[in-house]
Symmetry: none
Subunit: 164 residues, 2 copies
DNA sequence: GCGCCTATATATAAGTG
DNA sequence: TCACTTATATATAGGCG
């Protein structure tokens, strides 16, 4: 219970380091979201743990913020011309889940998987390519999924923590 | 002196909003630095205030983190079995010159993909295997995605209207 | 290890100069 | 508006089941 103030230095014990990373990263993301909400700010945060895991958050989206970073005049001042980061032109995100066999999906699930399945586009871009009708369907699909999640949360709460 | 808990919503009074932005941004940067120090992590945070001011921080540098963001394969998915670490040894990743590829997914996207990506389990089953904390995150993630969808819809409906 | 708990450290809203 | 104050809210280290 935080009996002592932690020193701001490298944590030598790996397990402890990972635990700390997770907790602090979560806190960081949360605060970033709050900042965006309260101050109508745009922000992106990119993290890579020592273990190599990557976590990102961006409002309105990581891409939009990065794009602004690359184009906003006030940003240029802090960068070196010759050390500009080039926007992605490589492909590394393609997941090979082609042979994943799943139980029958609901329409909602299918909708969502469909978007992700595009493979070459992230949600932001994927969404931007949809028409009103599709967006409407997707919204409903998302809502449906969300209901399941919320329902599950409630179930766990009411059952204490008795669940597999 | 924090006489009351602040609501996590847009601050209407501009002066107050800017003050809050400044304070919270500083806190955010500070925490980001601590995270990097304690956990040997790499992180970058980019912020744009409503007023248009830009602030960045990156360890080891903003540029290096962004470069990693655009190239690191581990940016795509996070698995959790025994091994979730996958150092960029060079496998199936990297450059396709003729294909436009998007950066890694956001937290929200990852959360959702994570569930589906588990394979062999539909959403219903996947959700049932999550703990409260995860469900909470997932809910937020779903909400985030939904916001994007809704926003896109509204934009289309506006059909050309533009604001600020 | 994972999720929850809680005592304490830290962040911060509002006030003051 | 910044710098400092300080009361309170929030984050979190370590413990527990």
């Amino acid at each position: 219970m935080v009996r002592k103030r932690v020193e701001i230095k490298k944590i030598e014990e790996k397990p402890k380091m990972y635990t700390t990373f997770t907790k602090r990263r979560q806190g960081l993301f949360k605060k970033t979201k709050v900042l965006c909400t309260m101050c109508e700010a745009e922000a992106a945060i990119l993290t890579f743990s020592k273990a190599g895991n990557a976590f990102f958050f961006g409002h309105p989206s990581v891409e939009s913020v990065l794009n602004r970073y690359f184009t906003d005049p006030s940003s240029s001042l802090t960068k070196n011309e010759d050390e500009k980061v080039m926007p992605p032109t490589s492909s590394s995100l393609t997941r090979n889940e082609d042979e994943v066999v799943m139980p029958p999906m609901s329409e909602a699930e299918k909708k969502i998987v469909e978007l992700i399945g595009q493979g070459r586009a992230s949600w932001d871009v994927g969404v931007q390519n949809l028409g009103l009708l599709e967006l409407d369907e997707l919204e409903a699909a998302i809502q449906e999924i969300k209901c399941k999640v919320v329902a599950q949360s409630r179930e766990i709460i009411s059952n204490g923590e008795d669940q597999d």
